[in-house]
Structures are given as C-alpha cells and as structure tokens.
C-alpha cells in the first residue's frame, strides 16, 4: 500500500482546490474486531437492528449535548468553512469540506428529527439512514482530526469536531468502531498507557535514561516513578518514554525539574496523558481514563499536577479535567467529589499546569540558565498544535498558549522564524494525524492532510533556511516524523520544545 502513497504537489499559489467527488470514498480505517469492541463494552460487530439503535443513540446525544443540537439546527450552508479543512485541501474530496462532513449527519438528523425532513426530505437534503450512509459515516468521520479549524471561521461557532465525536459514538454503539482508537483505549485500561508499556518495562526505560543523561552531562538527573509525597505529578504521553523525538523532550522536563530542584514523580499506573476517549466522543471512556490521574494524585499526595507535551491531552487536562475529575480549582465547597482533591492541591499554582507554563515561569524567575549557542545548528519554527491552539489555553490571558512555547524557544535558542501567519496561532493547520487517525491504515490520508502545513514549512525553509519545526504534541511529532520524507524533508526535522530546552539548559550552574 505504502508504495502507492505519494504526496500531493505543492500548490503554486495556495488557491482553493477544485472538487474531486469521491476521491476518498474508499479510504476509511480498519473496523474494530469483536474483541476490541467488547473490551470497551461496545457491541462486537454491527448489530442486526443497527438502524433503530443508531437513530435512538442520535436522539440520546441530541438531548445530552447542547452543542450537537444547536449545531445540527444552525448551519445555513454559507460555505465559510468549506475551504478551511486540511483534509479537503489535501484530498479535494468535497465530503471533506467541514459543512459537507457535518451534512452527512445533518441529513439524517433532518430526516428523523425535523418536520420538514419528515415531510419533504428531498427539499431540505434529508436522507434515510441506509447501510451506505452508515459506511460513509465510518469513512468520512474518520477523515476528520477534530482539529476545530473550521469552528474558528464559522459565524455560529459550529464545531465539526463535536459532530465527528457524536458520529463515532453512534458508530461504536452499533458495533461499528474504529480499530486503532478502540484498541488503544483497551490498552490504557489494561496496561495503563496507549502504547502498552507495562510498569516494569517503564521502570527499566527510565533507569536507562538516567544512565544516558549521566553519560551525556555527568550529572545525576533523576526520572522518579511512583514517589509518594512528591511535589509534582507529571502526566505525559507514553510516547515520551521511548519514541523519537519524543524522548528528548522527556529528558528536557527532567532536566528542568532537576535544575529547579523540584521534587517530582511519574506514575506507572497513570503513565499516559493521552485520552482517546475524547476522540471517540464517549463521555464515560473520557471520564474513566481521566479518573486514573485523580486516583494517583490522591494516592501519592502530590501538590501539583503538570502535563507534558501532548496536544489533545492538554485540551482534556485544561478544559475537561476539572469537570471530569476535580483536578483544578473553584469547586463548590459542598462538592465533596472535587473538594477532596482540590483541598490537597497547592492553589498558588495553576492546576493542572502545562510543562511549558512550568518552564517559562522558572525562566522568568531567572531560576534556569541556558547556553543558547547549543541550539545554533537549528533554525527553528513553531507549529501550533490544534488542540492547544483552539481547545485550551496557557497562562493568564487568551492566546497565552501561543506566546508561552514561543517565549521558551526564544529563551533557549537564537534562530527563530514564524511560518505564514495564515497557518499559525488559531489558524494553525493540523499535522494531518490528529483526532485518532495516527494509524498506518490511514497513511494516505495523513500524507495528503499534511499538505497545507508542509507548504508553509517549505516556504519558511526557502525564505529563512528553517531546518527544525518545534511542537508540543506527541501526535504531531509522530505524524511529522512519518510524513516529512514524503515531502522531501528529513524526518528528524521535527522535535519538542523541551528538546530544545534540554539541549541548552545548564545543569549544576545554579
């Protein structure tokens, strides 16, 4: 398969592409097996009365989520979003236009839940839920990375991610799940992290890292696990434990903790920041996976919870943890569930805190010192990861999530250049692998979806000689490592912000 995958050509002028209907018709992901489905409490395979069950589930979700209800009603087909999706730009398939993707569900909503759709389906574009429509859902709702770029431009704030999540939830509920996402969620429950790294292997890995860093720097930088009474609990994506270039950022976090003299710990039980429960739109999964962090925080008695470089994990942590688990501030005093944890946390600090907030605070207090020349071989640009950019915040003001990682880079390196502003900050393009699509069976889609980001990177490389793209997301790092070569770049051109911190930080100086 991979032999046939090629990158689409750069657009000479980035014009809106012409439509190629059906271009990605048969490009859906693998279907989850019985075993994978049943482990999560979903039906093993497509149930006999899937039609009625799917409609019933849709009705249930419309009653549980105001977002879905309002979004189904409010779209006027103005087309503001129609050219904003990286998958549309890369594939030219009109069903990858956000509005058309939503309409895959909206057409069914109109048929079963609105008066005009029941009486005049053709007039309002309403459709029966047929097997073909269900297949189309499985296909095209797995060609959305839930990156929310379309929602920035929608005059009503309609967020296709919410529609995609609802569609995936309905598909799961009738036994038509996606293999990659559901298999990973199974691993989190069974082993504790997305990659299926068991606790002993994790301990080994971290010990090995301590030796490596000692060899490199001559300093005993520790990577503690399951330490009761530590000040900080670090929750980081499991890819940080062994994937390249992720691991270099993990070393960066450890060096920052070391230099600051902060006691910290990882957890072998909650050894995963990622939460694929969000990707499949299942509140119970999202909550259950997040509760692991609460459990460990209570057990270890930590005062602060810090989250490593991971985009969707930060959205879940920043936006949802307080709701799901009580990790945060400002619970009602009678809210026993949340207060139990919030009383333990130190509210002089933000809870939870992003590792970039943690590091920049120290930099601003002059508690860290750097040898910026150590990063001189890198001419750096920064890729805003979608869930950080459009689904969360850092710092005290709106948009802090853009400035804080950039300020870290500028503090630890000399050469920094922005990419085209139409492709950064809130307008950033997804890496092409987010939202639970980071699987080889979707590689063709991933390569095509990376096109707009690769175009901006190419421009920065040509104009400024950029040779390093920093980011703060485990999925972005893996995705770019894989697709950069398709566009003629070196795969190690991508790395973490704390990888740059790690290169430059002076240990033992302070």
């Amino acid at each position: 398969m991979s032999a046939t995958i090629t990158a689409p050509p750069y657009r000479v002028i980035p014009i809106i592409p012409v439509l190629k209907p059906g271009a990605m018709e048969g490009s859906g992901p693998y279907v989850a097996s019985d075993k994978i489905q049943e482990a999560l409490g979903f039906p093993g395979h497509l149930v006999d009365n899937w039609h009625d069950q799917a409609i019933a589930k849709m009705g249930e979700l419309l009653g549980k989520y105001r977002s879905l209800k309002v979004y189904m009603d409010s779209c006027v087909h103005c087309g503001a979003c129609s050219d904003k999706c990286h998958y549309f730009i890369g594939t030219q398939d009109p069903k990858n236009m956000p509005v058309a993707r939503q309409d895959l569900m909206r057409s069914v909503y109109r048929r079963y839940f609105t008066l005009p759709g029941k009486i005049f389906p053709k007039l309002v574009g309403a459709r029966d839920l047929t097997r073909e429509v269900l297949d189309e859902w499985h296909n095209y709702f797995h060609q959305c990375s839930e990156c929310r770029r379309c929602s920035v431009f929608c005059p009503y704030g309609i967020d296709t991610a919410e529609v995609t999540m609802a569609a995936r939830e309905i598909l799961d509920s009738v036994g038509y799940g996606q293999k990659y996402d559901n298999e990973i969620i199974g691993k989190v429950h069974k082993i504790g992290n997305n990659l299926g790294l068991p606790a002993p292997a994790l301990r080994d890995t971290l010990e090995g890292l301590e030796e490596d860093v000692k060899e490199d720097t001559g300093i005993d930088v520790r990577f503690p696990v399951d330490v009761k009474g530590a000040e900080v609990l670090l929750i980081t994506p499991s890819a940080d434990f062994f994937a390249e270039p992720h691991i270099d950022s993990l070393i960066g976090y450890a060096k920052v903790f070391h230099a600051a003299g902060t006691s910290w710990t990882l957890s072998s039980f909650a050894s995963e920041a990622g939460n694929f429960g969000m990707f499949i739109g299942n509140y119970e999964q999202l909550r259950t996976i997040a509760l692991r962090i609460r459990e460990v925080a209570l057990e270890l008695g930590v005062k602060r919870i810090v989250v490593g470089e991971c985009g969707h994990a930060w959205r879940v942590a920043y936006s949802f943890w307080n709701t799901l688990t009580g990790v945060g501030d400002g619970a009602d005093p009678n809210d026993q569930f949340a207060m139990m944890l919030q009383k333990q946390l130190d509210h002089r600090y933000k809870q939870p805190m992003h590792i970039c907030e943690f590091t920049l605070d120290l930099i601003e207090q002059k508690a860290l010192s750097f040898d910026k020349e150590a990063n001189d071989k890198h001419i750096i640009t920064f890729h805003d990861s979608c869930n950080v950019a459009r689904g969360s915040r850092m710092g005290d003001y709106p948009g802090g999530q853009f400035d804080i990682p950039r300020n870290i880079i500028k503090a630890v390196a000399n050469n920094f250049f922005e990419m085209n502003p139409d492709t950064t900050h809130e307008r950033t393009f997804c890496c092409g692998g987010g939202g639970g699509l980071l699987t080889d069976d979707l590689l063709d889609l991933r390569v095509k979806g990376a096109l707009p980001r690769m175009e901006a990177l190419k421009q920065a490389a040509d104009e400024h000689g950029v040779n390093f793209m920093a980011c703060i997301c485990a999925i972005c790092k893996t995705q770019f490592s894989k697709v950069l070569p398709y566009y003629g770049f070196e795969r190690n051109m991508v790395g973490g912000v704390h990888q740059l911190v790690s290169n430059a930080i002076k240990l033992g100086a302070k």
Binding site: S74, G79, E284, R287, P398, E426
Partner: protein
C-alpha cells in the same frame, strides 16, 4: 373576504413563529453542555463573552476571518434587513416613534441593498463550485423567498404606490383586535403572504441560526475551566454520592 383571510393568516403565522421559536429556545436552554468547549482563544470573563457575542452578532467577526465576499454580502443583507424591519415599525405604532421616523429614508434604500445582498449571495451559491455542492433546494428557495419579499416591497414603494395608510390601519387593527379592511392590491397580497410564510418556517428551518448563535457553546462559554469547576446535570449523576469511602 381577503381581509379576513389575511387576518387569520397573520394571527396563525405569528402564533407559529412565537410559539415555535420559544419552543426551540426552550430545548436549547434545557439541553446541558457537559463540557467546556469554547473555541479558543476565548474570553476569560462573562463580560468578555458578551463582547465576543456582540462582535459576532453585529460585525460577523468569524465570517470576516473566513471569506470577505461572503462576509460583505452577508453583512449587507443582514444589516439592510434589520433597517428594513425597523422601518416597518411605522406600520405597527401610532404615533410613529421619532427614531423610526428618522430611519425611514435609510430604511427605504436598505430595501435596495437588501435585494442586492440576497442576489449576490445567490450568485455565489450558483457560481462557486463548493457552495453549489453543499446547497440544497431549500437553500435556494430561502434566498428566492427573501428576494421576492424584497422585490415586492420595493415595487410597492417605488413603482405602484400602495395605500400605506390602509395597510397601517389593517395592522393596528390586528394588534388591537379592531379589525379593518386590507387595501386590495396584488403586490400587497404577495408581499404579506411571503412574510407570513417566512414567519411560519422560521422555527423549522435554518433561520434558527439566529437564536442558535446565542446558544453555541463554542462562542458563549467563558474560558475559565481551570478556575471554576463546570459540571452539569447528567454528568454530575455519574459521580459517587459519598466520596468519603472512595479510595
């Protein structure tokens, strides 16, 4: 005969519009938003959210970021429509409020720009490949409806002048249950029938985008999830009642 028909039609249309729209709004109000999902960067305070919403309502901020043509035509249409609607208050008030009298001349020309806006949006829907692809027959009909309402109104204003005193008498009569005759005019019949249709389809069509915007969690939530615990209805039920025994 026609007067009675139109009186009944308008009472019915108004009832459908008011009850239908309130019903939809009540659904939106009742449906919980379990998670914090503002599209960030988002305002941190309620005051900031109000400002963001005002920018969306009056300036179409997001649409401006998206596409200047759609923004220009859409804004022209909506602003003109608003002026036209306000101008029409003169048919429902006696004496006419001073500010309504003041905008009267602007309101008349707004009728023209409204029609131009609709025509432009329709041209976009027909000629831009992407927009044509996503358009349903109802999308075209909706624009046709606004165009017909606008044109029939302009014809009465600028070509065959209607009996405005008579229309006002009819409307005031409807409001105070003191029914008066409706002037007999084909243009007027067309104009009023289409307006009645518009009122009646409002609660069951994409016109719901108007109330919908105010209930869109992506736009109406403050970005304060770390500082204040947000927990709603059914999500709260999932939590154990007595946390004392929990691990």
């Amino acid at each position: 005969m026609m007067s009675t028909l139109f009186a009944i039609l308008f009472y019915f249309a108004t009832l459908v519009f008011v009850v239908g729209t309130l019903y939809r709004i009540s659904i939106y109000t009742r449906t919980p938003a379990p998670l914090k999902i503002p599209t960030t960067p988002a305002p941190i305070t309620t005051g900031g959210v109000v400002l963001r919403m005002m920018r969306e309502v009056f300036l179409f901020e997001s649409l401006f970021k998206a596409n200047l043509w759609t923004w220009g035509l859409g804004w022209l249409f909506h602003a003109s429509l608003a002026l036209v609607l306000l101008r029409h208050l003169r048919y429902f008030t006696e004496p006419v409020w001073a500010w309504v009298a003041f905008i009267q001349p602007f309101g008349m020309y707004a009728g023209i720009t409204m029609v131009l806006g609709v025509a432009g949006l329709w041209a976009r829907r027909i000629f831009v490949e992407r927009i044509r692809y996503i358009s349903t027959p109802s999308d075209h009909l909706m624009l046709a409806l606004f165009l017909a309402i606008g044109v029939s109104g302009l014809v009465m204003r600028f070509v065959v002048h209607g009996d405005v005193i008579g229309v006002k008498g009819f409307m005031l009569g409807l409001m105070y249950f003191d029914w008066q005759a409706l002037p007999s005019s084909i243009g007027l019949y067309v104009h009023l029938s289409l307006v009645a249709v518009l009122l009646m389809i409002f609660p069951i069509s994409k016109l719901l985008h108007a109330p919908g915007l105010f209930f869109s969690p992506g736009r109406n939530q403050a970005d304060n999830s770390r500082d204040k615990r947000h927990i709603s209805g059914w999500a709260k039920q999932l939590e154990p009642k007595d946390m004392g025994n929990a691990k």
